[in-house]
């Protein structure tokens, strides 16, 4: 391990190089926070006004593209998604699917909480039950895929 200085202080330095320097379960929990933040950014980005683009009129493309490139929540959201995907791949290489899949479903909980906070969306019994069912389904899928 030549790069032990870059290992987070809380992580154990592995005795066995085959063992990862991080717990994949915690990495997945961090990924769910990233994923939820990315969703919130995409929603903020979606609210950003974009001029219409007409396929027959190529001049309408310039204002559209410049508005798109100034939509920083959208671009930030996409970048966060890309980073998240790479972290997730890293976690999935080392961890057990039956644990990591259900953990990833935590992102539904974070997205709900953040939507309530940032966009004034509300919860009701149907939505709560739906989220619980989906988390159960994703958990079951992880278990089924690991066998």
């Amino acid at each position: 391990m030549g790069s032990s200085t870059t290992v987070p202080p809380l992580a154990e330095i592995p005795e066995n190089p085959a063992r990862p320097a991080f717990n994949p379960a915690w990495l997945v929990v961090i990924c769910t926070l990233f994923a939820a933040a990315a969703q919130v950014l995409l929603k903020f980005g979606a609210l950003h006004p974009l001029p219409p683009v007409h396929l027959s009129d190529s001049a309408s493309l310039t204002p559209f593209l410049s508005a798109l490139l100034s939509d920083w929540p959208l671009l930030f959201g996409y970048s966060l998604h890309a980073c998240n995907a790479m972290l997730l791949i890293l976690a999935l290489r080392h961890g057990h699917l039956s644990l990591l899949y259900p953990l990833y479903a935590l992102s539904y909980v974070w997205v709900d909480l953040l939507s309530l906070h940032y966009f004034g969306e509300h919860m009701n019994i149907w939505r709560g039950a739906g989220i619980a069912l989906i988390i159960g389904g994703v958990a079951m899928l992880g278990k089924a895929s690991a066998e």
Binding site: L114, I134, E147
Partner: protein, 117 residues
């Protein structure tokens, strides 16, 4: 009062369909990764990433008018599509447990759809 229009829900379900093909192409592309860094530039992997990006377009349009807490969980329909494509293209069996998962996910999407309107 209706918070999330049906059109937004349909757009997200379309996005989940497109995105599930992204996963299929990533799986096909991943087979080339053993060839090292040059393996990254195979058309299946690029098509997979392209499909994921493409699927985000209807999702963003849906988000403009719909609620995030309703639309985001509905993307989980892509798990159901992926199960079908895995069976058809890679011969992965659909076990009883997977059917159970499918029922729970579909039930959850239905509940959220009911609660979101």
């Amino acid at each position: 009062m209706s918070q999330t229009p049906l059109s937004s829900i349909i757009l997200v379900l379309v996005a989940s369909f497109i995105g599930s093909f992204g996963a299929v192409f990533l799986k096909l592309g991943a087979a080339h990764l053993s060839r090292g860094i040059r393996g990254l530039f195979n058309w299946q992997l690029i098509a997979g990433i392209g499909l994921f990006l493409g699927s985000s377009v209807p999702f963003i349009i849906a988000l403009k008018h719909g609620e995030l807490s309703v639309l985001y969980p509905m993307v989980s329909l892509s798990y159901v599509w992926a199960m079908l494509w895995s069976r058809m293209l890679f011969g992965e069996p659909i076990t009883k447990q997977k059917v159970g998962a499918l029922v729970l996910i579909l039930g959850g999407i239905l509940c959220i759809g009911v609660g979101g309107r």
